[in-house]
């Protein structure tokens, strides 16, 4: 138990460090951005640029003349208080925009994750139990091909099949009840191709273990072995997969949201990039990294709960 505590504290410390790293890197990136926020302010408000003196005064007012570290410190303190600044472009607080967009991204991400599990756990077990039979070969080919298709191409395929050809599902997601299906499915299919393969090989490995032989010897039914014992031990692989694929899932939402016009963080980020609203881009990057790091932290902790061996050694 003591070791588990130590593990937990270590993880928390590295979390704090990574938090500072994320904010520093993101702030630094926007700091070196080749456009001046003050000039952007005037341009986006359709005003002609005032004289250099006025610009300098405005810069001083916004704290942009201070040294980098001081600017970063001010920004970070504000950020921790939940104040992400006010957009230079449309004068809306960035915080409001993020609060509005975030639930959409989370909804999309979690639904995709759920779909991925629903597709890949049964199929992973099926292909493993039919090892080297035709159904296994078909799914192996299928997963290989899907894993070679970029998510944006896959989503356009789905768009074409369901939206243009069958005319069953909406191509534009916003404001549509069924709108989330296609973007979630695109993300889920890409991830499933990786999950199915991994779950298949884990199940195969498990099926060769002594306890399975023992259970078979005692006459336990194959389906009971598969769904009670093997499935339980496969869950650790699934958790690992969630940790690994989360990054590409969150990054993937950024692209997919723009294809299906889903009003999440990725759409917000790209719209902001086009309008050079860098404060908003900054908030997008920091928040996506936070979500990613935090869920990874949770997956790390859940190992200890899922695998009694890790709990004991505290590794």
């Amino acid at each position: 138990m003591n070791r588990l505590k130590k593990f937990f504290i270590q993880k928390c410390l590295s979390l704090v460090f990574v938090f500072f790293g994320i904010t520093l890197l993101t702030f630094g990136l926007m700091y070196i951005a080749p456009s001046d926020p003050v000039e952007m302010y005037y341009i986006s408000h359709n005003q002609s640029l005032p004289s250099e003196d006025v610009l300098a005064a405005k810069r001083a007012e916004m704290g942009l003349d201070k040294p980098f570290i001081q600017q970063y410190g001010n920004w970070l303190l504000k950020f921790l208080r939940g104040d992400m600044g006010v957009s230079y472009v449309d004068s809306i607080p960035v915080r409001d925009k993020i609060v509005e967009a975030m639930p959409y991204t989370l909804e999309l991400a979690f639904l995709s994750l759920f779909l991925t599990m629903a597709i890949s756990i049964p199929l992973g077990i099926l292909t493993a139990s039919k090892h080297n039979k035709w159904i296994d070969y078909i799914f192996r080919l299928f997963t290989f091909i899907i894993s070679s298709i970029p998510s944006f191409v896959l989503s356009i395929c789905l768009m074409f099949i369901f939206g243009v050809w069958l005319k069953k599902l909406p191509v534009i997601s916003y404001g549509n009840e069924k709108g989330i299906i296609l973007p979630a499915l695109s993300l889920a299919l890409t991830m499933s191709s990786r999950y199915i393969r991994q779950i298949r090989s884990t199940v195969l490995e498990e099926l060769n273990k002594d306890y399975v032989l023992g259970a078979r010897g005692r006459g336990v039914k194959e389906s009971v072995i598969l769904y009670k014992n093997v499935l339980k031990n496969t869950m650790i692989t699934v958790v690992t997969l969630v940790g690994i694929s989360l990054g590409s899932l969150l990054g993937g939402t950024a692209i997919i949201e723009n294809i299906f016009v889903w009003p999440g963080m990725g759409k917000l980020a790209l719209d902001s990039i086009k309008r050079r609203d860098y404060l908003c881009v900054q908030a997008f990057v920091v928040w996506m990294a936070f979500i990613f790091v935090f869920i990874n932290f949770l997956t790390d902790l859940s190992y200890g709960l899922l695998d009694p061996r890790i709990k004991k050694s505290g590794k």
Binding site: I145, V153, F160, I255, F284
Partner: protein, 273 residues
């Protein structure tokens, strides 16, 4: 049996290598083989069905889709290979230094790596490319900044393993300098796994580049690139699906070839896997 299997892997390696060399040569000489000017717009010829002179049809500006796909091949293939070279060199260097020196150097370098790893997938690349403004060069900078970490991790863990070997200890005792040990004794031993990782990464770099171009943050129009062609074509999905279909198909086929090649290189160099 084992010998037979290795022979099969070797044959597969040469077949795929041949295919890749073929792809590279065709894409390099694309300018000479394409039937039409890839950038010439002809409103009269817009959205023509694939046939005859235009095997992949024409796009909304009347440009030949086939010629544009061919021109895009060069950008995609060579920039992904270049990206893999840049990121693997830099990442391996960081991993070698971190693993070999250990201690405070290791802690600092690995914490920095952790920070870069904390950004999910394309998020950092999208932001960097967005801030720097579009263009192939900026897109490549953006992908490099977010893509070196996996190499650093792998190089470090392999270095840690090899550092314990007796011959490294012998080299240290016989007074070989740090540089000599790292580059003459450790690097050759971890090169196998680095090469495997690098070949497996080519296709994901290709996906990243075309992904950025698809979002309008990479290769700028009217220059032909698969990702930007697809994003242009989506608007005409209903009336002219071939504008989207052919660049997608060729891109997926290229990715499949590079993925198969990566798997084969892994089987060849790292049969234990």
């Amino acid at each position: 049996m084992e010998e037979k299997k290795r022979k099969r892997v070797r044959i597969r390696f040469f077949v795929l290598l041949g295919l890749i060399v073929f792809l590279m040569i065709t894409s390099l000489s694309a300018e000479k083989i394409i039937p039409n000017d890839p950038n010439k717009t002809m409103p009269r010829m817009a959205n023509r069905v694939p046939e005859g002179e235009y095997p992949f049809g024409t796009d909304n500006y009347g440009r030949c889709v086939f010629s544009r796909v061919m021109m895009g091949a060069k950008t995609s293939i060579f920039s992904s290979i270049l990206l893999v070279l840049i990121t693997s060199t830099f990442g391996t260097l960081i991993g070698l230094i971190s693993g070999y020196y250990g201690g405070i150097v290791d802690i600092i370098l690995m914490r920095i790596t952790d920070v870069f790893l904390a950004f999910p997938g394309m998020v950092l690349a999208i932001a960097i490319a967005g801030v720097l403004g579009g263009g192939l060069k900026n897109a490549m900078i953006a992908i490099s900044i977010s893509g070196w970490t996996s190499f650093a991790r792998i190089a470090r863990s392999s270095t840690l393993k090899i550092k314990e070997e007796t011959y490294i200890k012998a080299a240290i005792l016989s007074g070989v300098g740090d540089k000599g040990i790292i580059f003459r004794y450790i690097l050759p031993n971890i090169l196998g796994i680095i090469v495997v990782t690098a070949t497996l990464k080519i296709s994901s770099m290709m996906i990243s580049i075309s992904g950025l171009s698809f979002l309008g943050l990479g290769v700028q129009l009217p220059k032909a690139e698969w990702g930007s062609m697809i994003s242009e074509g989506v608007r005409y999905l209903q009336i002219a699906p071939w504008i989207t279909f052919f660049p997608s198909l060729i891109m997926v086929l290229t990715i499949i070839i590079f993925n198969l090649f990566g798997d084969t290189v892994r089987d060849l160099l790292d049969p234990k896997h």
